[in-house]
C-alpha cells in the first residue's frame, strides 16, 4: 500500500530534525508499518534534495548491507546506498566531533574515486574497474537517527544509509595489479586491533558493489559522475566510539588513515 506524500514529507522532517538536534526517533517501520522500500528511498531523496537546496554539494555515495553477515542480520539480500555530501567529509588528520552525533560507529572501507561517469543499466564490475581513477583507504562514521540502532533495512534507507561522516586516506592507488578481494584490513582502536577483514567481505569484491550502485541509480535515471567518491561497504564490521578514542585503519597497498574523537 505504501505511504502518502504528506507522510513521506513528515518522516523526512523528523529525520532532519533528529540529525540537527542529535535526538533520535522511534523506528519508522514501527510508527509506519505500511512503509515500503520505495517509500524509504523517496524519504532519502527528499532529505538529499533539501540538502542540495541548502547549498550542500553531493560528492558521492555510500553502499551498505554488502556483507553476507549484515544481509542475514536484516534478512535483506541486497545492498542499499546513501548520499555523501561535502558537509560529511572530514579531512585527513581531522577530528570527529561526537557532540554533533547521536550514537556513532566507525568502520573501514575501500573508497573509489571515479575518473569518468558510470551510467547504468548493465554496468559490469569490469566497466567499473575501467572508470576508477583511484582507490584508497577510508573511514565511514555511521550514526543512526533511530533510537538505539533498532533499525530495519527500510529505516536505514530512509535515514540515508545511517551515514554521517567519512574520511579518506592520503594515499591514492591505481587499480591495476590489485586484487581488492584479497586486500586485508586492520582497524585499530587505541592501538589494539579490534577488527580485521579482507576486501572480499564486500559482495565478494567491492567492484561488484559499485556496479550494483550504478545499476540501481539507473532505475531512477541517475548516474555516477566523474570525481564522485564511493564508499563501497564495511570490511569486517563496525566499532562504537567514545570521546578520546583514537582510531586508525590500514588496508594492504592502500594506506592508512587515523582520527580522534572529541566531545562531550
Amino acid at each position: 500500500m505504501g505511504l502518502s506524500q504528506s507522510e513521506l514529507l513528515d518522516i523526512a522532517d523528523k529525520l532532519d530534525k533528529a540529525e540537527a538536534t542529535c535526538t533520535p526517533i522511534e523506528s519508522l517501520v514501527d510508527t509506519y508499518p505500511g512503509m515500503e522500500e520505495k517509500d524509504a528511498y523517496q524519504i532519502q531523496w527528499i532529505i538529499a534534495s533539501r540538502a542540495l537546496r541548502a547549498q550542500r554539494h553531493l560528492v558521492g555515495y555510500k553502499i551498505g548491507l554488502t556483507s553476507l553477515e549484515a544481509q542475514k542480520h536484516f534478512q535483506v539480500y541486497e545492498p542499499d546506498y546513501g548520499h555523501l555530501f561535502d558537509s560529511m567529509l572530514i579531512n585527513e588528520e581531522g577530528e570527529i566531533d561526537l557532540t554533533q552525533l547521536i550514537q556513532p560507529k566507525i568502520e573501514g572501507e575501500i573508497a573509489f574515486v571515479l575518473g569518468r561517469d558510470l551510467r547504468g543499466p548493465g554496468i559490469t564490475p569490469f566497466q567499473v574497474a575501467r572508470a576508477v581513477e583511484f582507490v584508497t583507504t577510508s573511514f565511514e562514521i555511521i550514526d543512526s537517527r533511530i533510537k538505539n540502532w533498532k533499525i530495519t533495512s527500510k529505516d536505514t534507507i530512509a535515514d540515508n544509509g545511517s551515514s554521517a561522516r567519512f574520511i579518506l586516506a592520503g594515499q591514492k592507488e591505481k587499480l591495476e595489479g590489485l586484487n581488492l578481494a584479497h586486500l586485508g584490513l586492520a582497524l585499530y582502536k587505541n592501538n589494539d586491533v579490534v577488527v580485521t577483514g579482507s576486501g572480499g567481505a564486500v559482495m565478494g569484491n567491492p567492484l561488484n558493489a559499485v556496479a550494483f550502485l550504478a545499476n540501481t541509480l539507473a532505475k531512477h535515471d541517475r548516474f555516477l559522475m566523474e570525481g564522485q567518491v564511493i564508499l563501497s561497504g564495511s570490511i569486517g564490521g563496525m566499532v562504537s566510539m567514545q570521546p578520546g578514542d583514537h582510531f586508525s585503519v590500514e588496508i594492504q597497498s592502500l594506506g592508512r588513515v587515523s582520527t580522534r574523537c572529541k566531545g562531550r
Binding site: 584479497h182 586485508g184 586492520a186 589494539d192 580485521t196
Partner: protein, 256 residues
C-alpha cells in the same frame, strides 16, 4: 577427581567423540596451574599411546576469538602428528565431536628459540618459514562452552591442522594485512587478516617461547607453531566444503 583422572577423561572424550561436562563445573578448585598440568598429563597419555609431538598452537590471540569464548588472555596447546590433515584433504567427522575451522599463520623455525627474554627480533632471526594454515578446533566440552581453565586442560580444543606449501617469508612486511577469505560451500562466511593475531602473529611465537621457558623448554627448530585464529571459528557439517583463500594459496577440505 584428581588431575590424572581428568586427563584420562578428556582423552577418552577424544577417543569416543563424546563431549563431557566442563571440569570447572564439577571441581570446586581448578586453577590455571591445575589445568596446565592436566594438559601436560594428556600429552603424556598420547605419547604413551604411540603419538608424536609435532608442534604447538596458540589460542585466544584475537579479539574476535576472545569475544567468542569470553576469555581475554592467550593460551597454548600442543600438536600431535596425527592432527595433520592431508592437503586438499578430507576432514573426518567420525573422529570429531563438533569441529570448527579457522585460518591461521603457521611458523616454522630454523633454530631453537629458548626463553626467557625472547624478543620479536629473536623470532624474526629464527624464522625458517611462514605458511598459510588452517586449524580444526573441536572442544571436548558439551556445546563448545568452557572457561579458561577448561579449555587449557582440553589442549585448547586442538584437533587438526593443515599447513600450506607457499613460504611467505619473503613477504614478511606485508604479512599482517594479507586478506584472507573463508568460504563454506562457495560462500564467503568470514574474512580477516593476520593482524588479528595480537597485532602481529610473530608476537604469538615470542609469547610461546617465553611461556615454554617457564617449564625450561624451548620451541625446537622444525616444529609447527600455529599462531592463533585470524577470524571467528566457522562450524561445518558432514559434506561441507571449506576453502581458506590467501592471496598466494588456497587451503581446502571436505568434511566426510
Amino acid at each position: 577427581m584428581n588431575k590424572q583422572e581428568i586427563a584420562e577423561m578428556l582423552r577418552n572424550a577424544v577417543l569416543t567423540q563424546t563431549p563431557i561436562t566442563q571440569v570447572s563445573r564439577n571441581e570446586k578448585v581448578f586453577s590455571l596451574t591445575d589445568a596446565k598440568e592436566v594438559q601436560a598429563m594428556g600429552l603424556q597419555l598420547a605419547l604413551e599411546a604411540g603419538e608424536a609431538l609435532c608442534g604447538y598452537k596458540m589460542g585466544l590471540t584475537s579479539k574476535a576469538k576472545q569475544k567468542d569464548v569470553n576469555v581475554f588472555e592467550p593460551i597454548q596447546g600442543y600438536l600431535l602428528r596425527s592432527f595433520e590433515i592431508p592437503k586438499a584433504g578430507v576432514v573426518k567427522m567420525n573422529t570429531r565431536i563438533h569441529p570448527r575451522v579457522e585460518p591461521e599463520v603457521a611458523v616454522v623455525l630454523k633454530k631453537d628459540l629458548r626463553g626467557p627474554g625472547v624478543t620479536l627480533r629473536d623470532v624474526v632471526n629464527a624464522l625458517e618459514g611462514i605458511y598459510p594454515a588452517l586449524e580444526i578446533v573441536d572442544s571436548r566440552y558439551e556445546n563448545f562452552i568452557f572457561k579458561l581453565e577448561d579449555v587449557v586442560a582440553d589442549n585448547t580444543s586442538a584437533s587438526g591442522f593443515m599447513v600450506g606449501r607457499v613460504n611467505l617469508l619473503a613477504e614478511l612486511n606485508s604479512l599482517n594485512l594479507m586478506g584472507i577469505l573463508v568460504r563454506k560451500n562457495g560462500r564467503i562466511v568470514e574474512t580477516g587478516a593476520p593482524a588479528a593475531v595480537l597485532g602481529d602473529p610473530l608476537l604469538s611465537v615470542m609469547y610461546l617461547a617465553n611461556s615454554l621457558a617457564e617449564e625450561s623448554k624451548s620451541i625446537p627448530a622444525g616444529v609447527v607453531v600455529l599462531t592463533g585464529g585470524i577470524t571467528q571459528s566457522v562450524s561445518f557439517e558432514m559434506g561441507d566444503r571449506i576453502e581458506v583463500e590467501w592471496p598466494q594459496e588456497v587451503l581446502s577440505f571436505t568434511a566426510e
